[in-house]
Symmetry: D2
Subunit: 346 residues, 4 copies
């Protein structure tokens, strides 16, 4: 029996408008390596959306590759990157950052977010250590929007972090693998132009937001990383048929699709959150985006998993489990209705 | 005015059958990271085509990533990789192999091919050096089929190289970025099962052979590289939506498409070669595949480039240039006819 | 005015017997790179002292180089090294381990020591994670004897750790930068043969134990790391005049010098500990070796530092500081007497 | 029977003045990591000798470590280092440069030297390649003085190379592992101040020039490599007892010892060269320094090797061998007389 599907936000192919455009342009000839007109058009649209007219933009196939490339390219060999203990780079990328030669310097997480004050404290500790030339120097801050726990930095929090970074010569890098869901969340007050203004570099996620693959790395200041193209090639991350990513981001940034593609996912997630709350099941982390975390007794988990595919998150004790329902642009009303009815029976 | 297009073999999107299949399966839900049914089906079809029933197969987005991953994963830190001086890894990957920590040990090239006897000589020189523990130990041989010059190793040459490798504890790795064009060339006598029998590891190129992106790395002995999946993740080369490559290779390996997709490209290339010869223009390197190299006086080059897009290869002297015509599965009869007519006027 | 010196255990040159031997052999000619007779003789003496007749032994200039070389050489690219949060490699080597491509996986520290049970727990967490092919695999355990806090693993603790390692395919690596002080501590029950029996690899510290420089890496199983010599060369860690380290370790392992060289340091440290206790100042971490840690009010710290050079360790609160007195083979009775008298006045 | 020893220039310990100074200062207490007064004094003396009053100077244990550290620290990740095919980094450092992530870009060698015009040509080829963002960018030039073949760059040649470097944004790095022998050669016209004026960075060799170990890296512009100290630590190349190198270089740069220590070696080498020429044996490469290369029939080689230890260099054909006689500051008149007598009997 087919189950209601809430396993993740990358279970389907691409938004239909993307496939249509791929089909209609399939035999158009164009140059390789991202120098084609589709990529250029996509870049221009992203610049407009970000209000960053000089931005340098590169399309990279996935999140770990983007994180690894940006961090290695920006840090000096003697520097490390600051992240929350729950940051994707800290624990879920098979050691890609260390493979690139850099230490991840962890600060505490609060529902997936780090605090400007903890960053400041870590930097001061480094700066005031008499032997700090034996230590890894903090060189940048990595954050995600939404975070790995589905939470959002408010504009004011982001401004604080940005200020601390500027005051301490730290680059600020934002991982937007699920950025479309942040932009579609009613309580969100951080816009693309805000990101371009406050971050040194960030990326706009495609893979989890309607594309087949691809993240758009945006550097508002194009002089940030000289020869980034060659670094992309050296990391094996340069696609010969760059058009594949150009077409997708062109479609996502036409008529504001990227800013609305996550709307239904948020509505569905809210409906699930309402139902869980109504059933007295405690939501976790306070995520307002497309990831719904809830702590359930294991017998309820078993009942849910009979009819729905969900994600395992953690086990706070022997009898309970935190599970995740992920909605996406592709989630169907039918699946949501089925899940809500199922939850009613619990 | 549109020009006849012979710039490269990655100017278009994908073979129509691939796009059709992507469209028809677009909303099918499946797990990520290449563990889905499309990937599994593609793997099984490739195993059959290669007569390698135990082979481990991974799909990687491009050639440089594949070369870099395989070489880094197979070599010990104290080893280097042997390649022809014209090998793609030796000069055209922005130092990706050295970035991974390994030296490329060059042997002479003969129309793009290396010789088993030169490999043997290099290894003997290493083995007989009293101070070879201060040197880079040869650990593997890298070859391409077709080579960067369009030429093909014969079965007998490949067997020689394979034998020398086995006798000297060298892994043999074959880059098949354009393998479909080798398989479609009448004079070719090396089959997929031959590759699986003679190489430790090789890849079947998708990007230049009808796919949007993707190379299928084949390890006939699945114990060759433990935890290759994690290494792929660590290199940022693991696609969340692995289905994208699974679908494409499934189509390419259905009804023998991969083995025939290059046929028209070879016919067209042969027609161009015939015409050039007829015009007294000297072909270079002896390529029988989809890349046609010819040395032309610069005034003829100028005339050709008025109406056709070709590739620059090298300048043997101040007055001549070697240019390349590349055909592909997507080359049109119309472009070929136009080019042949143009060459007639020279 | 000269101050009483307790700043560290590497403030002086070498034990006089070492300098004498260097002088008397200075113009002897010998081959380079550690293949000379001094090195060979030193190796043989160390094998005897460790009851490890087949051991492969390499002399490396310092601790960070040894840690970095051993860890990089032993780990697979997808693995990380487990260490206590206070482990030297975790925080005081400028990111050398990450520079080599590997993550340090931290477990809690208890007075500088890690617990076998915590190692086991970390490994089980990894092993039972369904997605552990996206994670760094634990590949080895790094411990120090004495630890960075001056404490010692008991034989029983070391046996536990060794057992957990064997059961879980983890290499066990012990950093013995201050090993002579462990061996000279009355409460110590771990001998050199115990280390050779229980560790896969360890080193015997010279730099802090009477030599000018040098650590002796001991691999009881000589097949542990193939081509280690070449790896040493590749890391720039191979000294042309290997004799310099051979002579020193030959002297240190003649007539049991290494096992007694730390005795006076321990006696002096005990005297300092007694005096501090008598004065009601709380010792920290429970170190029985040559490092004495004590938590003092800042006005007492100021008084001490007027006449003695000590090390700063940490500030538990705004009014107190943990300081370190380090004794060594070179500490003089005069300095100790002076310090004890000074402490009496507090 | 003891043989006449000409195997290499690192067969003995240290110059007696160095050992004396080590002995007399052995129990002086000083801080670690090269921050001590011996190192500071040595640095100041070197600055004076080089007429480079702002130079930053670091002491590193050996040549491969110095090459590896300097090259990795100076190059951007997308750059490579230009060297002669016979350059030490190109073939005799176990791949240390590639291990650090960089390609060695070889240019032809002429008796061990490279030519400014070849460097210029390589750079122009890179600069005029339309696809050079797929290539390794030349970022620096590595040369040795004396070269691996014993030859010397003249001041005019060095000025040419320096000019080409400046014109093309290439750093110029000079490996002076045997620099004392260059300085003691009558035909040499390149002084230490010339090196400081023409190179971005260079090192003054200690290991082969009278020290136990150590090379002094000199950066005339102290802003050349920020945080080099931390990079040294991260590479495991920071000695705790930095005094060991400080004392040695202080002695070598007192009363001009470094500039005269090689004089007898050159006189002896000249005597050997005269004798070989007189016997009709062809000298190779034109070395005027402490390395004497000669091509001899294999039966003569056998006779020589009965009584003298020499180095094997290469076999130009089946019947001849190029052998090397290396003299040093420690070579005895007795050995030279013995060798000359032996050569007379051939």
């Amino acid at each position: 029996m087919a189950k209601y599907s809430f396993a993740s936000d990358y279970m389907e192919g691409a938004h239909p408008a993307i496939l249509e455009r791929m089909l209609s342009t399939n035999m158009d000839k164009c140059v390789g390596y991202g120098l084609d007109e589709f990529c250029n058009s996509a870049r221009e649209k992203i610049r407009v959306a970000c209000d960053a007219s000089n931005a340098e933009i590169h399309f990279i196939s996935g999140g770990t590759q983007s994180n690894s490339l940006v961090i290695k390219s920006l840090l000096k060999p003697y520097q490390g990157v600051i992240a929350a203990t729950t940051g994707h780079i800290a624990g879920h990328e098979a050691g890609a950052i260390e493979h690139g030669g850099h230490k991840v310097l962890c600060v505490p997480e609060y529902n997936g977010k780090l605090k400007a004050s903890d960053v400041e404290k870590l930097v001061k500790t480094y700066q005031t250590d008499d032997n700090n030339d034996h230590l890894v120097m903090p060189g940048m801050v990595y954050i995600s929007q939404p975070t790995e726990s589905g939470t959002l930095y408010s504009l004011s929090e982001l401004e604080d972090i940005s200020r601390v970074c500027k005051e301490n010569n730290l680059h600020l890098f934002l991982d937007g693998a699920r950025l479309a869901y942040a932009l579609a969340t009613p309580s969100n007050d951080v816009t693309l132009p805000d990101l371009a203004r406050l971050c040194d570099i960030f990326y706009i996620g495609g893979t989890k937001c309607g594309a087949l693959l691809g993240e758009a790395i945006v550097m508002p200041d194009p002089s940030l990383i000289p020869h980034f193209f060659t670094l992309v090639k050296q990391h094996g991350a340069l696609l010969a048929k760059g058009r594949l990513m150009g077409i997708q981001f062109e479609v996502l940034f036409t008529d504001g699709l990227y800013e609305t593609i996550g709307a239904s996912a948020i509505e569905y997630a809210d409906a699930i959150r309402d139902k869980l709350t109504q059933k007295g099941l405690p939501l976790c982390y306070g995520s307002p985006t497309n990831q719904v975390f809830v702590c359930v007794p294991d017998e309820i988990r078993a009942k849910i998993e009979e009819q729905a595919i969900v994600g395992f998150w953690e086990k706070p004790d022997d009898d309970h489990t935190v599970i995740r329902f992920a909605t996406s642009w592709a989630t169907s009303q039918e699946d949501v209705d089925g899940l809500l009815a199922l939850l009613d029976t619990i």
